[in-house]
């Protein structure tokens, strides 16, 4: 298994494609893994680009971790992967929480980032109103409850209450109840408006037409100096709900 040693953990990485500009793709948090990209848009993007996927610490096939899940900590993990696999300025694509990490990484390491695509991300990641997706997921008691939040295609993939579903629940339970994740997300949840204003890189905001995060999209449009919005006919889970449209939007942005 290809791994990168980063800040005391071993991160599982997958590299697709051998030629072209590097693209780092970041997945969502808690029940996600790099498979989100591997089975949707990554193979197509890799036809002309060097695509690098990583599993966050404690997710997928990366080693378990009890801390280091806040935006800054995960941005440091991205930096370690980029340093070893793509030291030149790279495009960063992040879905959901991964998009928030991408913005944090770009603010902290502007010289390493060529452009950023944010796919239906919340920012701040945790809001006080308790209606945030993360909070709903973390507070839900039964797997069935949060399965209902998923679009049909993803629900079919996780299918019922079998082993696949159980493994996701195990990962979620481990992360939410056996680590500092919830505390760290609340403590390091945002990228300030003035930091966003300093980010002079092109940013694509690819948001679902039925996004849970319209407010974030509008805030990012106001705060970022070089942002463009692409609305996709989808809910929150854009890579699963509208892979073709997302692929087209990313290709156009990456080639611009």
């Amino acid at each position: 298994m290809p791994v990168v040693d980063a800040n005391g953990v071993r991160l599982h990485v997958q590299q697709l494609g051998t030629k072209g500009a590097p693209v780092l793709m970041l997945h969502g948090i808690v029940f996600d893994s790099l498979a989100t990209w591997y089975f949707t848009v990554a193979p197509a993007l890799a036809a002309h680009r060097r695509v690098i996927l990583l599993d966050w610490r404690g997710h997928g096939r990366s080693s378990p971790a009890t801390s280091g899940f806040g935006l800054r900590a995960l941005a440091r993990d991205v930096a370690a992967v980029a340093e070893q696999l793509a030291p030149e300025p790279a495009a960063i694509v992040g879905f959901s929480y991964g998009g928030a990490v991408a913005l944090r990484y770009a603010v902290d390491h502007p010289d390493r980032v060529e452009r950023i695509a944010v796919v239906d991300s919340p920012l701040p990641v945790v809001r006080g109103d308790g209606l945030d997706w993360m909070e709903r997921v973390l507070d839900s008691k039964s797997p069935g409850e949060w399965l209902e939040l998923l679009p049909p295609r993803q629900r079919a993939v996780l299918a019922g209450d079998g082993r696949r579903m159980q493994r996701r629940v195990d990962q979620m339970t481990r992360l939410c109840h056996g680590t500092a994740l919830r505390r760290e997300l609340a403590a390091d949840s945002d990228v300030d408006d003035d930091e966003l204003a300093s980010l002079d890189r092109p940013v694509l905001l690819a948001y679902g037409a039925r996004s849970w995060y319209e407010e974030t999209r509008d805030r990012l449009v106001r705060s970022l100096p070089d942002a463009r919005v692409t609305m996709i006919d989808s809910g929150h889970f854009v890579p699963f709900e509208a892979p073709e449209a997302l692929q087209a939007a990313l290709e156009a942005f990456l080639d611009a």
């Binding site: 290809p2 498979a35 089975f39 193979p43 197509a44 997928g60």
Partner: protein
């Protein structure tokens, strides 16, 4: 049995061994893995385990471009793939 069938049986045996290794759990050693076995419904493989399977298939048969093969399918189709489809793809690429 034709030579082609023999080759496919051999590939099936190797892929079954890879699947058992990727799963790494006791039940997988006892579960029959045949051409009609599905990755999702029968084996209950998680998507990240199919990534691991692809990595090993690619390493064992470098001419089989697993990622490109998958790129023509949707995730729900991939999850419901039969082991025999992967065997046939590997056989064609050899």
């Amino acid at each position: 049995m034709s030579t082609t069938d023999a080759v496919r049986d051999e590939i099936l045996g190797e892929i079954a061994a890879i699947i058992r290794e990727v799963v790494g759990e006791e039940w997988a050693q006892e579960t029959p893995i045949e051409r009609e076995t599905t990755f999702g419904g029968d084996l209950e493989l998680e998507s990240i385990e199919i990534v691991a399977l692809g990595e090993q298939v690619q390493a064992r048969w470098p001419s089989a471009d697993f990622v490109t093969w998958l790129s023509s399918m949707q995730l729900d189709e991939i999850i419901e793939l039969r082991v025999g489809q992967l065997v046939d793809y590997v056989a064609e690429c050899r």
